[in-house]
């Protein structure tokens, strides 16, 4: 995916290169003439000499290591290496050579580390290595007949090799699990290097393979953002994938995912019916499917049955816990007696996605205090058009007041004794405190503090998100907007 964007980006870069002026002389003139533009000395810090020495040696060592790594990496590209990534809950990564021998192993999360502990797989044939790993996963309880899904992601520079390995690994895992009395459900995908996926994986502390799968699922499903799906286990992801009509790109399913942990759809329906005291024969327009519900502010969510029907001129929507039948969420709307809505159409595969809908809403002036304030639902109208209904609780800000925080920034900075030279004040100047010889005392940690400020800034301070200027700030936006799910256009009510 990154490669496709390179052409536009390269053009942009060369355009900017051609229009950027060269004003070095003017800058040099300012620097030479302006007395205040001299290079500022940092306040003297008491720092033992040996610390400086240790830092210097460490720095040299790092530079050497980097140098060595660069040389090594540029020459090892000629060998064919395939990376096989496995995710259950634990994540492990195996690198194999052309002879299908394991040359490297790595854990992609902390559970994965405990799996790899004590195993020496280097040099072994991939089949043998998989046997050992799968056995350990079963013994440790990560795979069982109740949770039988494994995600296999293969990354190889050569396409035919990748497919061959994908099949080999899938068959081997199926065989090993069968030997352990478990019917395997395997999701496999061929992955390529992708900057966006790598960054997501790093941010959410998961393997690239899992990040890619979640990203693809979020795109296909349209109901959830990446963030919402990030806490799902591979088994839960597998269950959701089962619900989608077509698989995401390059993703294959083998075997049946276990839903033994869950109640049946009939039981879920019964739970919803009892809630409103209805009989199955009395309801209309029933739709029922598995979904994932994560409530705002909670660390993880749960699998639910999304149950909808019309009863007594009211459209009901329930999220029924898939494990215990508990009603977790309930919504109802009165419907027009004369024209009941048609049965739900299958969800489209090409929605803009929930993340983008949130972005569009923000550009239109919705500025909730956090992502959690958005209430977005993917709905379908009578004509079969899909849209996102975006709602904000009425007390959250619209076109929020960013301006008011700036005045407090300045007072905070001024009362601060330290000269923070890595962090300019909001007006762009670097104002040292009035006391130039301000004593910092014994701060060996001074450098770390500077690093923090440089790294993250003080989020309440000058790092304000730039105010959205697309929305018209002179009138209040409505608290509810509707966005077309395919085009992203805002639909006028």
């Amino acid at each position: 995916m990154s490669n496709k964007n390179n052409d536009i980006e390269n053009r942009l870069k060369s355009e900017f290169e051609s229009i950027t002026p060269n004003n070095l002389d003017r800058i040099k003139a300012t620097v030479d003439s302006d007395a205040s533009a001299k290079i500022l000395e940092l306040p003297k810090k008491k720092r033992p000499i040996y610390k400086k020495f240790v830092c210097a040696v460490a720095a040299m060592f790092v530079l050497c290591a980097l140098g060595a790594a660069t040389i090594l990496s540029t020459t090892s590209g000629s060998e064919l290496a395939t990376i096989i990534s496995l995710d259950v809950n634990p994540g492990v990564e195996l690198t194999i050579n052309e002879k299908d021998e394991i040359t490297d192993t790595r854990a992609t999360n902390s559970d994965g580390e405990s799996i790899l502990k004590g195993l020496s797989l280097d040099g072994k044939d991939i089949n043998e290595g998989l046997d050992i790993i799968i056995d350990k996963l079963v013994d440790s309880g990560y795979i069982s007949s109740d949770a039988n899904s494994v995600l296999v992601s293969v990354n190889s520079s050569e396409q035919t090799s990748a497919k061959k390995i994908e099949n080999l690994v899938t068959e081997k895992i199926t065989a090993t699990l069968s030997k352990n009395g478990v019917e395997a459900s395997i999701i496999s995908q061929i992955v390529e290097k992708d900057e966006e996926i790598e960054e997501l994986a790093e941010e959410y502390k998961m393997s690239d393979g899992k990040a890619r799968l979640i990203n693809e699922l979020a795109k296909k499903d349209g109901r959830h953002t990446f963030d919402e799906l990030s806490t799902l286990t591979v088994n839960e992801l597998s269950v959701l994938l089962n619900e989608t009509k077509t698989m995401p790109n390059d993703v294959k399913k083998h075997g049946k995912v276990s839903k033994k942990d869950y109640i049946s759809s009939d039981e879920a329906l019964q739970s919803a019916l009892s809630y409103v005291n209805a009989q199955k024969s009395e309801i209309k327009n029933l739709s029922l499917e598995l979904d994932y519900l994560k409530k705002h502010g909670e660390n993880s969510g749960s699998m639910v049955y999304d149950v909808r029907f019309i009863f007594n001129d009211t459209e009901y929507r329930f999220d029924v816990g898939a494990k215990n039948g508990e009603i977790l969420k309930e919504k109802s709307d009165r419907v027009d007696e004369d024209t009941p809505p048609p049965p739900k159409k299958p969800r489209p595969q090409n929605t803009i996605g929930k993340e983008m809908a949130m972005d569009i809403a923000q550009n239109a002036g919705f500025n909730p205090s956090s992502d959690a304030d958005f209430d977005i639902e993917l709905e379908c109208d009578d004509d079969g058009n899909w849209y996102y209904d975006v709602e904000i609780p009425s007390d959250a800000s619209v076109n929020g007041d960013n301006a008011s925080t700036e005045s407090t920034d300045e007072t905070n900075c001024e009362t601060n004794c330290e000269t923070d030279l890595t962090r300019p004040y909001p007006d762009g100047s670097f104002r040292p405190s009035d006391k130039d010889d301000c004593n910092h005392g014994d701060d060996d940690d001074d450098d770390d503090d500077d690093d923090d400020r440089y790294e993250q800034g003080d989020r309440d301070d000058y790092h304000k998100p730039l105010p959205p200027s697309d929305g018209d700030s002179s009138h209040r936006s409505p608290e509810k907007i509707r966005i077309d799910a395919i085009s992203g256009n805002i639909i006028k009510r």
Partner: protein, 200 residues
């Protein structure tokens, strides 16, 4: 060993390698400045000016202000070279400084003109420049069709080679938002380019 070195030197550089060597040059220039070597200013300027100018322009939207921001930024970097702690991300530090000058310029400018005037001014200015025609196309579409944040994100990614993560830190946005806006912006640009191509 020597042959290995020769191999690495003769291979064409990937984008990643170009960015890595640029960052090394910038860090070395900043530390030379910190040690009083004024000549390092030239190296610093050469390796950062396009990034600074493009980012400034993406915020202030007119070339006059962008030039002033660029000037102020490099003077400030020169002044505060000693306070930079080498962490391998010199450009992010420089761009943070640039951002603040750009926001300041924006605030001052907003008292006098509206957004449409900014765009007009930019279009007038670039029409005066020597280079015109096909080459200008992407830039124009960029400015016209994108939102503020989309424009800044695309510029930072395409011109300065910042990763999405670094962009998120610089603009104080969540990573997922940056990714989402980036994807949307690229899509918009691609569509605009296709439309313009079919019009011609």
């Amino acid at each position: 060993m020597l042959s290995l070195l020769c191999l690495t030197l003769s291979e064409p550089k990937t984008a990643k390698e170009i960015i890595a060597s640029r960052d090394e040059l910038l860090e070395s220039a900043i530390s030379r400045l910190a040690n009083g070597d004024k000549d390092a200013l030239g190296d610093l300027y050469e390796n950062a000016r396009v990034s600074v100018y493009s980012f400034a322009l993406s915020i202030v939207k007119n070339t006059q202000d962008a030039e002033d921001v660029m000037h102020d930024t490099f003077v400030a970097v020169y002044k505060h070279a000693k306070s930079y702690t080498p962490k391998g991300k010199p450009l992010a530090w420089i761009l943070t400084i640039a951002k603040n000058f750009a926001l300041k310029a924006l605030r001052q400018r907003s008292r006098f003109s509206s957004e449409e005037e900014d765009w007009e001014r930019y279009n007038d200015q670039t029409n005066d420049e020597a280079e015109q025609g096909e080459k200008r196309l992407v830039l124009m579409e960029l400015l016209k069709t994108l939102s503020e944040q989309e424009r800044q994100i695309i510029t930072l990614h395409a011109v300065s080679g910042l990763k999405h993560r670094q962009i998120a830190e610089l603009l104080d946005l969540p990573l997922s938002t940056v990714l989402s806006k980036y994807n949307r912006a690229i899509k918009k640009l691609r569509n605009e380019l296709q439309e313009d191509a079919s019009d011609v």
